[in-house]
């Protein structure tokens, strides 16, 4: 009952934000927008991804913000729009902007994000919590676009560092057919060069057979090579990759998008108070927290932290606060997180996980960087063409 009353209180808070505010009080409205195209049929359809991945993370964060805001007279509201197509999503964005919103968390593919930033025209602060594409951090940046989801390069650098650290340096790479698979694989090839790995094979996956029946026959033949230390799989949507572990020609570990994976977040992360975040999320959503949930949570919490620090909901002042040296996000990864001023990417450690356990967390000791070792993951300032702040 008490929990229900508190929930009610939060809902009331949100609806009351339209009412006039007392002096010193602040209304902070954040839009959450989501659209993803149907990924198509996949072979490995046993454990589907939750449809509301991302959305529930934003909902948890707005509650965290509201609890904090209660003591400061800051009232938070999340306005959620889940669209069925790209045009519908852009229309929802325009409508929310007409309603006066200028703070957004967006969980859409990169192309949709490009279109959305065109619509925004620098008049909205947008957090990307849905697109991992490297080009958004390396070339196609926007002064008002920040990223809480790690890029492909950050994920594959985490994997590359780990392989180097374990001295498992000869890698057999298998890449799926989709553009996302190709993007992941190019990120990994870059990581391999950075961390001294050798690709003994770099093979595209071209099979159409139903691997649930034939994985044990097809994959050993496919992964034949003289020798390698590990098989790395690039299968972003999870089509064939789940059938690679234990079916390789040589008895070797499988990593990448399946097997041991570099992720932004996973249910097995429990250190540094993460157990509390996982519990709160499970209570709210009735399922485990995904990387998309975490990215949306981190975006809404970044805004909440900036509002607390700056005492304003003004978009430009919040943007300045987020890039300020004093800004730090406490986000259950064992250290403070900050935004890269050149491309707006949230710096963060990357957990390496298997389905029921945490293996390690990048960056690893010994990979040095003059600024922060977190910048050994992803596109560093000299490698990025972007200069969106200072």
């Amino acid at each position: 009952m008490r929990r229900f009353l508190r929930l009610l209180a939060i809902v009331l808070h949100s609806t009351l934000t339209a009412a006039p505010l007392a002096a010193g009080e602040l209304a902070v409205r954040i839009g959450y927008l989501q659209w993803h195209p149907d990924p198509g049929p996949v072979l490995s359809n046993v454990l589907p991804e939750p449809k509301d991945a991302g959305q529930r993370g934003a909902e948890l964060a707005i509650r965290d913000n509201a609890t904090t805001g209660r003591f400061l007279g800051h009232h938070y509201a999340l306005i959620t729009r889940v669209a069925g197509s790209e045009p519908a999503l852009l229309e929802a964005f325009d409508q929310l902007r007409r309603d006066g919103l200028d703070l957004f968390v967006v969980n859409v593919p990169a192309a949709t994000l490009d279109a959305l930033m065109q619509h925004a025209g620098g008049q909205a602060l947008v957090f990307n919590a849905g697109a991992r594409d490297d080009r958004l951090r390396r070339r196609d940046c926007d002064s008002h676009l920040l990223h809480t989801l790690p890029s492909y390069a950050m994920l594959t650098d985490a994997l590359g560092q780990w392989l180097n650290w374990r001295r498992w340096r000869r890698v057999f790479l298998v890449t799926g057919p989709t553009p996302a698979d190709q993007a992941w694989a190019s990120a990994f090839r870059r990581s391999a060069a950075r961390f001294g790995l050798t690709l003994v094979e770099d093979k595209p996956w071209t099979f159409n057979a139903d691997l649930r029946r034939t994985a044990a026959r097809e994959l050993p033949l496919f992964t034949q090579a003289r020798d390698y230390d590990a098989v790395v799989v690039a299968d972003v949507r999870g089509d064939f990759g789940e059938y690679v572990p234990f079916n390789t020609w040589l008895p070797r570990p499988v990593l990448g998008t399946q097997g041991m994976r570099p992720v932004a977040w996973h249910r097995v992360v429990e250190s540094w108070g993460a157990a509390q975040l996982q519990n709160r999320f499970r209570q709210l959503a009735g399922r485990d927290m995904t990387a998309e949930d975490y990215a949306a949570w981190a975006a809404v919490r970044s805004l909440g932290t900036a509002v607390t620090q700056a005492g304003t909901a003004d978009m430009e002042r919040l943007r300045a606060t987020l890039f300020d040296d004093e800004f730090q996000l406490a986000a259950f990864k064992g250290r403070k997180l900050t935004y890269r001023p050149w491309n707006g990417q949230l710096r963060q450690p990357i957990p390496l996980v298997h389905p029921r356990g945490l293996v390690a967390q990048a960056p690893f000791e010994g990979f040095l960087h003059p600024r922060t070792d977190l910048d050994t993951l992803g596109f560093d300032e000299p490698e990025s063409q972007c200069r969106i702040h200072g």
């Binding site: 609890t67 904090t68 003591f71 509390q276 250290r335 403070k336």
Partner: protein, 324 residues
């Protein structure tokens, strides 16, 4: 009789036989669901006692006869009789209790309910819940001023210190500090409160009369990445000379001059140093090292680590019994 029970009985006998000589320290082992009992004379573990699930915060009753244990995953506070080392009672604690503090009246126990954004106040005699106070997200550190006037709670995700009036159970003041405040400790005279912020990497010193921060301490350990300097546990000597600050994954304890706020030294201890406690005459400081699974003992006069004592997995809290 199982070997474990025999061991317990033997240790109890020894304790009873030499009450004045055997100083004891208690350590909660978060991932072993046990309590390690350390003989502070020999600096060895003399007993390991099974307790509730995920034990974290521990504290002594004011008469030193009982130990209160936050069994976080059992959603309860256990009461251990120290003479028999048996759990004799449980208290209604609210969900996921993590840290707590006992009012000088020896009755009102203030408990942080981490998952519920609430501080629960329980009367340990009647077991009645006197109040549930809504605080920020993830309440963690808890302290009651020695003069009994204030109960202070730190909330990790809200990054605030909530000052609760112990007569009305109402929050009277909220102070925003560094990110993820973990622990708060009052000076003996109740004039100052020291609050650590794990992610912020800072310690705020609060003037209790004015309820204003008067100092913000930062730390710099040579050769340690600044991100890894994460202040958690605090211990203050009663003469107001030193403040000891556990720096978490920096694996060091900072020694601070409590008058000038100057950092005097950094002492290398075990991995992820967490909570601290001083023994009765403040000769030795005990520090739990979560990741390395041991307790470091520091000679306060010489400011040197003199011993590491292996305990259970993920030691969390430590208290030294001043009467033993």
């Amino acid at each position: 009789m199982t070997p474990c029970l025999r061991h317990t009985a033997l240790a109890t006998l020894l304790t009873l036989a030499h009450p004045a000589q055997a100083g004891l320290a208690y350590v909660s082992n978060e991932k072993d669901n046990t309590l390690s009992v350390i003989d502070t004379d020999s600096m060895t573990v003399v007993d390991t006692v099974p307790v509730g699930q995920r034990p974290r915060g521990i504290l002594l009753s004011k008469d030193h006869t009982r130990l209160y244990i936050c069994a976080s995953d059992d959603d309860t506070v256990q009461v251990m009789d120290l003479a028999s080392r048996r759990i004799i009672d449980t208290l209604p604690s609210g969900e996921d209790p993590e840290q707590f503090a006992l009012h000088p009246n020896n009755r009102h126990l203030y408990i942080s309910n981490e998952d519920d954004a609430i501080v629960t106040v329980v009367d340990v005699q009647t077991k009645a819940v006197l109040a549930q106070i809504e605080v920020g997200v993830e309440p963690e550190g808890m302290a009651v001023s020695p003069d009994g006037r204030w109960a202070v709670n730190t909330t990790e995700t809200t990054s605030m210190l909530h000052w609760i009036n112990t007569e009305t159970f109402e929050i009277e003041k909220n102070i925003v500090v560094g990110q993820r405040p973990r622990h708060i400790e009052f000076s003996q005279d109740s004039r100052f409160a020291w609050a650590s912020s794990e992610i912020g990497g800072t310690v705020h010193v609060i003037d209790v009369e004015r309820l204003e921060p008067i100092r913000e301490l930062t730390f710099k350990v040579p050769g340690v990445n600044p991100d890894r300097i994460q202040p958690v546990g605090i211990a203050l000597t009663s003469d107001g000379r030193y403040a000891f600050i556990a720096l978490g994954p920096a694996n060091h304890i900072a020694v601070v001059d409590a008058h000038t706020y100057e950092v005097l030294d950094y002492l290398l201890v075990g991995r992820r140093v967490w909570q601290l406690d001083l023994d009765r005459d403040e000769t030795y400081l005990y520090a739990t090292n979560g990741v390395s699974g041991d307790v470091s003992v520091i000679d306060v006069d010489r400011l040197e680590v003199v011993k590491s004592i292996k305990v259970g997995r993920y030691p969390w809290g430590v208290v030294v019994d001043p009467s033993s």
